[in-house]
């Protein structure tokens, strides 16, 4: 089978260049190629000379999208812009796709429809009907200008379009034209960019921008979609009321309508609910057991055809097969909860935090579905981190049945401080999901170690993980013992030069309601360094906490953390007989409102003690506070290198 794949790879390489030599290069591309070459940063791979999109909506509700692209390739890494991929599906057809290039030497090449190839866009899905058509143009080399023209026909489920004018490379000119039939209206919303009003040209709305800077690559930057400028436009027609929306409530109603056929049940399912959640149990426990069943025993498998990307499969089928995707799991849990009298609502969400904000216009940019469970008073627990108090619906406990390791009552980190669309029967709203406090996401590490006279360090470390840190590490339970040991060795290898793992164990890995406890024992030779009569010991021993940061360039964006957290280390090193602490490193102290790092090394009898705490109270440090964050990272880096000096007692 491997051979078939290898053949395919070669084939793609060969056929992608099998194109006609005589080039009917269009004038718009020639004109673009004559543009004066500007000076860009030396890591700009290519520049968009022209991005032109036209969306024409017909009175029948079909959309014709026409596009032109012109790129100038500036670096070898920019050659990829000589290939254009257009997505299509059962509802979207690529009518035409052409490409051309004008090389630095002035040679011209053309690639036509027939030169393109198709392939599936399925990745994590078992199956999806989403595909892409790919066209590569010969001559795409440094100095070349490449261009494409295409046309796609859409039969949309909802009348919505996007103009993505900002990119990872600079855009010199971007133009978007919208043609609507008489009687249609549109709503345009600008995100992450100053709003512009359209011109009216020949009855069409036209927006145009020039000299749009690129989105920079930076460590721990917010999600690309959360910072890239784009415009979302919705079209409204009385004739297609079922496919148009004016606000979140109408979009939620549309979701409710397509979900409506999924909430069936079966006698087997009803029996399972009784078996899992008998009436005698407290209500919260009944909810928890059903949630755990869907979370754990329904295997994630996505099959998405047509509207199947948005519409759940019937709950009875999902229950019978024991597999489904996120919306299938949410729908099944909704049906099972309904049987015990608990109401719930599906909630589409975007897993990249920041894409939706309280200012976001209604749109379909969701990629995941979770569930809002309306907790009756009998099941209410006030301290649950995932609780949302709704003015009308009361206590909504937000739960993700797809994430196997986040218990009922908590939310996966990427869904916290995020926005989800509450889909009620007759509408809904976008709601802001709660953020956990740092104390919920803890790693508490306790090391009890002994230093031998030859510099060898040995002992045990216990790590207690909760919240985010626990859920991210619980998959260790499904890792073989051999691989678990390798992971521990890999971790220790960052900080110890020569060591062996003497033992390890994992507690509560499968019990997601409890903290995860990891213990490992090790012996590290050459740990303490001899320096004449002195012995130098790094009291921190293990763990690196500072975030990645490029200090060579100015920062453009906020710094993003997965979740608020609290990490604390406590290390006790029993010293070898005859040695005492001669000098200790200074304590670390970097404290700001959003986060802090403190540490202290001290000597107590024959024991060297070291404690530190790193707390982050937010998920995002804004640009104006980046210098403070850098100071925290610098303090951590320094503290992690610090050594204590031991001296042999006379």
């Amino acid at each position: 089978m491997l051979k078939v794949l290898i053949k395919t790879t070669l084939l793609i390489a060969i056929v992608s260049c099998a194109v006609v030599a005589s080039a009917g290069t269009p004038e718009w591309l020639r004109e673009a190629s004559r543009q004066t070459v500007k000076t860009y940063a030396d890591d700009v791979n290519a520049v968009v000379l022209l991005q032109e999109d036209e969306t024409a909506v017909s009175d029948k509700g079909e959309i014709i999208e026409r596009g032109k692209r012109a790129y100038r390739i500036l670096r070898p890494e920019g050659r990829d812009y000589g290939t254009l991929a257009l997505s299509f599906s059962n509802e979207t057809k690529v009518n035409s796709l052409h490409g051309w290039s004008i090389t630095a030497k002035g040679q011209e090449y053309e690639a036509k429809d027939k030169d393109g190839i198709e392939r599936s866009l399925s990745t994590f899905e078992v199956y999806s009907d989403a595909k892409e058509k790919i066209l590569s143009v010969p001559g795409a080399d440094v100095g070349s200008v490449v261009g494409f023209e295409f046309e796609r026909k859409h039969r949309p489920y909802v009348f919505e379009d996007e103009w993505d004018f900002q990119s990872s490379i600079p855009v010199e000119r971007s133009r978007y034209t919208l043609r609507l039939p008489a009687g249609w209206e549109m709503n345009a919303h600008w995100l992450n960019y100053p709003e512009r009003q359209p011109a009216i040209e020949g009855g069409a709305y036209v927006w145009e921008l020039t000299s749009i800077p690129r989105i920079e690559r930076e460590y721990s930057r917010p999600s690309y979609r959360a910072i890239a400028g784009h415009m979302i436009v919705s079209f409204i027609s009385e004739k297609f009321k079922a496919q148009t929306y004016k606000n979140w409530s109408e979009l939620a109603a549309w979701h409710a309508q397509i979900q409506s056929g999924a909430f069936d049940t079966s006698s087997a399912m009803q029996q399972k609910v009784q078996e899992l959640a008998p009436a005698g149990l407290p209500l919260f426990e009944r909810i928890r057991r059903l949630a755990r069943f869907v979370q754990k025993d329904i295997r994630y498998a996505a099959i998405e055809i047509g509207i199947g990307g948005l519409k759940p499969h019937p709950a009875s089928e999902v229950f019978a097969h024991l597999y489904g995707d996120c919306k299938d799991k949410a729908a099944l849990l909704k049906v099972m909860l309904a049987q015990i009298g608990v109401k719930s609502y599906l909630m589409p969400i975007q897993t990249e935090r920041g894409v939706f904000t309280d200012k976001s216009p209604a749109n379909l940019e969701f990629n995941h579905v979770i569930l809002a469970i309306q907790l009756p008073d009998a099941a209410y627990k006030k301290d649950l981190p995932a609780l949302y108090e709704h003015p009308k619906l009361g206590h909504l406990l937000i739960f993700d049945p797809t994430h196997e390791f986040v218990p009922l009552g908590q939310l996966p980190y990427q869904e916290q401080d995020n926005y989800g669309l509450l889909v009620a029967e007759n509408g809904g709203e976008l709601i802001h999901l709660p953020l956990s406090p740092p104390e919920l996401n803890r790693i508490t590490r306790r090391a009890t170690l002994k230093l031998l006279p030859d510099g060898t360090l040995q002992g045990e470390v216990e790590e207690d993980r909760s919240g985010y840190f626990a859920s991210e590490a619980r998959d260790l339970k499904d890792v073989s013992l051999q691989d678990r040991k390798k992971l521990i060795e890999h971790f220790l290898g960052h900080n110890l030069s020569s060591f062996q793992v003497d033992g390890f164990d994992l507690e509560n890995a499968a019990d997601i309601e409890k903290d995860l406890v990891l213990r490992y024992r090790f012996t590290a030779s050459h740990y303490a360094k001899n320096a004449g009569s002195l012995l130098l010991v790094r009291p921190r021993v293990i763990g690196e906490m500072a975030g990645a940061f490029d200090a060579t360039k100015p920062r453009h964006y906020a710094y993003e953390f997965d979740a608020p957290f609290l990490r604390s280390d406590s290390v006790e090193i029993a010293l070898p007989d005859g040695y005492k602490v001669d000098e200790l490193p200074d304590p670390a102290h970097a404290v700001y409102p959003f986060g802090q790092y403190t540490s202290k090394a001290e000597s107590s009898g024959n024991v060297l003690k070291y404690t530190r705490e790193y707390k982050m109270a937010t998920t995002q440090v804004p640009l104006e506070k980046i210098d403070q964050l850098r100071k925290i990272f610098s303090q951590i880096n320094l503290d992690e290198k610090n050594m204590a000096v031991l001296k042999k007692a006379n």
Partner: protein, 644 residues
């Protein structure tokens, strides 16, 4: 002069078999299948393959596969998602699948598999049949079987990503008159047994394959049986290579020829030079002046046509057109050397980057490199003018310590290309730094890459622009330095000068390099972090330790100290040796400067498992030495010298 032309010739000698199979019913389910809870010796593994079958029926052109897998934990459920790749002329047929619950009830897969397009265009379609098995829980047994019709396969693969309890193989040959033979690699179980006119084999308890860092090429450790058809008179590998050698020789002799224009070119290149080695060097330089297309972006057929680039038929074409691929350029050099009176020939050399060569595998697939062999003053000289930037006398590492086919009109034999010794691959680092009162370290770092190190860097950068080279080098150096180091390249010289070192200068800024403890300042004396430690994190290994090539690191670090500190303790001299490796470090301090020198010479590429412990200890001692710190104290001035 692409050696693809060999293919037809070789096919006459040995042809890989075309595939296919035999029918098989569901195997009976055994108590052992249901009782199995974990893999002995690998507790916690996600799943186990209870049974695997692969029946290749080359006479009917089809192949049968059978998988029975038991899910042992939650993450093993992923094996219930199945993807079978078909396409070209291959059809996936006779697909059956089912889930067997721990209580032995059986749920048949009744759905229709989805067809996922992997590639469609130009009249070709490649697809995957995908499906997911129903009602899978921990403890379930899932099994599926299918037939690939019109599928060509010639290899049994015995090791999978799951531990496999039992596996059956058969190969039924076509009836075209050739003799079917096989060659095995890493055979740790029974060998194929003859049955009727084909072969069959059964293996048991085959562990999952797990790669390790710094292991030799993985392919050399995965057991496989490769089938091929061979002419009746080719009764052993030596005979095969002898015959191949004759064909290859004929091909190259025809291509190199004895042309007047090549003789003239050789004379012109040599000029008045009389010393044999200098003459040869001039010919080598002349050959490397030919535009080497093997190191340029691959052009489409239309681009080649527009740029009037054609395939060279002989050395006359190479000379006239002024371009060629690596093989053309090596041939051009051999042709000129012969014209100048040298005994010169071509070698087909294997490449050990992806796989170690075995001449038992009767295939030219891994003999992709070209080396010129020249007798100079009675000694064999191996040269690679076809490798861009490769200086006279150096070879590309992947073509050293490996076998090459030497051929003449009598046939082919194998010789071993000599190893690249560590003195041919040197990284020299000189850091002139100044330590501030706040512990930060700033200064200049000069790095010289010599020999193979320079060649590797030059070839890696061949398709990069200046910004790309800068970024790559800065990232490489950053990897040598402590966390938080800021590295800026200030100049790089020698990219296009194969006989000069590649010399790169950086400015370096390392915050918090030295740390304080009371009145003491602790300064790491050697700036650079050890580079090879990843290979030695794990207590045990399954496979030998492998480095691409032998190497040397020579470092000198000069640190100007802040005023007011005097040395209290300087790291003592370290000297560690193995048969094939040597390390030394020495530090001194005069109160103003802390100066440290370090040398590591590693003269091996392959260290067998029994020597892993000694090598691990060697590396641990190096790392401990590299992490030593000088202790400075406010106080009386003392001159200190590192000592044992």
């Amino acid at each position: 002069m692409q050696s693809a032309r060999f293919v037809l010739v070789i096919l006459c000698l040995a042809t890989s078999s075309l595939a296919f199979g035999q029918k098989e019913d569901w195997l009976p389910l055994t108590d052992q299948d249901f009782q199995m809870k974990e893999i002995p010796g690998n507790s916690g593994a996600p799943a186990v393959q209870l049974y695997y079958a692969n029946y290749i029926d080359d006479s009917n052109g089809n192949e049968f596969e059978y998988h029975r897998i038991k899910i042992l934990n939650e993450s093993g459920k992923k094996y219930a998602d199945v993807e079978i790749i078909g396409g070209f002329d291959t059809q996936v047929g006779s697909l059956k699948a089912r889930t067997i619950h721990p209580d032995r009830t059986i749920v048949e897969f009744k759905g229709k598999p989805f067809e996922k397009t992997l590639f469609k265009g130009h009249g070709i379609k490649l697809y995957a049949k995908t499906f997911t098995l129903p009602e899978v829980t921990v403890g379930s047994i899932i099994e599926y079987k299918f037939k690939l019709n019109n599928y060509s396969s010639d290899t049994w693969v015995m090791q999978h990503d799951l531990y496999t309890l039992r596996e059956d193989f058969s190969f039924h040959p076509r009836q075209w008159g050739e003799r079917l033979s096989w060659v095995g690699r890493n055979i740790t179980g029974p060998s194929p047994a003859k049955k009727d006119d084909g072969w069959q084999m059964e293996w048991q308890d085959v562990p999952a394959f797990e790669a390790e860092s710094n292991m030799p090429p993985e392919r050399n450790y995965k057991p496989t049986i490769h089938f091929y058809y061979v002419r009746d008179d080719i009764n052993n590998a030596d005979k095969f290579w002898q015959e191949i050698g004759k064909f290859v020789n004929e091909y190259f002799e025809r291509a190199i020829g004895n042309r007047k224009e090549i003789r003239e070119a050789a004379l012109q290149a040599i000029g008045n030079e009389t010393d044999p080695e200098k003459k040869l060097r001039k010919l080598y330089d002349r050959a490397q002046q030919i535009r080497n297309l093997s190191y340029e972006r691959e052009l489409s057929a239309q681009e080649r046509k527009k740029e009037k680039i054609k395939g060279n038929e002989n050395l006359g074409d190479v000379l006239k057109r002024g371009y060629g691929d690596s093989e053309d350029i090596t041939s051009f050099f051999v042709g000129m050397a012969r014209a100048a009176g040298f005994d010169a020939s071509m070698l087909l050399v294997s490449n050990r980057r992806e796989e170690f060569f075995s001449n038992k595998l009767l295939s030219l697939n891994n003999l992709t490199g070209r080396i010129a062999l020249v007798k100079l003053n009675g000694k064999d000289l191996y040269l690679q003018p076809g490798v861009r930037f490769c200086p006279f006398g150096l070879l590309r590492w992947a073509n050293t310590s490996t076998e090459a086919l030497k051929f003449d009109k009598k046939g082919g034999t194998f010789i071993t290309i000599p190893a690249l010794t560590n003195d041919r691959s040197v990284t020299r680092r000189l850091a002139k730094m100044e330590l501030s009162d706040d512990g930060s370290l700033r200064g200049q770092l000069t790095v010289e890459f010599r020999g193979e190190e320079a060649l590797v860097h030059r070839l890696d950068a061949i398709d990069s622009d200046e910004a790309g080279r800068k970024k790559d080098l800065e990232e490489e150096v950053q990897g040598w330095l402590p966390n938080g180091a800021v590295v800026k390249l200030s100049s790089a010289e020698g990219w296009d000068a194969p006989y000069e070192p590649l010399s790169v200068r950086f400015s370096v800024d390392i915050p918090a390099y030295a740390t304080s403890a009371g009145k003491r300042l602790l300064i790491p004396s050697l700036l650079f972090q050890p580079q090879q430690k990843d290979a030695f994190k794990h207590a045990e290994r399954k496979y030998p330790v492998y480095f691409a090539y032998a190497f040397s690191e020579l470092d000198r670090v000069e640190i100007k100290l802040p005023a007011g500190y005097t040395p209290e303790s300087i790291p003592p001299k370290q000297d560690v040796s193995l048969d094939y490796a040597h390390y030394q470090s020495v530090s001194s301090c005069d109160g103003k400067y802390l100066v440290s020198e370090r040398g590591l010479g590693f003269n091996a590429i392959y260290v067998q498992l029994p020597k892993y412990a000694e090598l691990k200890e060697f590396m641990a001692r190096i790392q401990a030495s590299d992490e030593q710190q000088a202790v400075m104290k406010m106080g009386t001035k003392i001159n200190a010298q590192g000592s044992n």
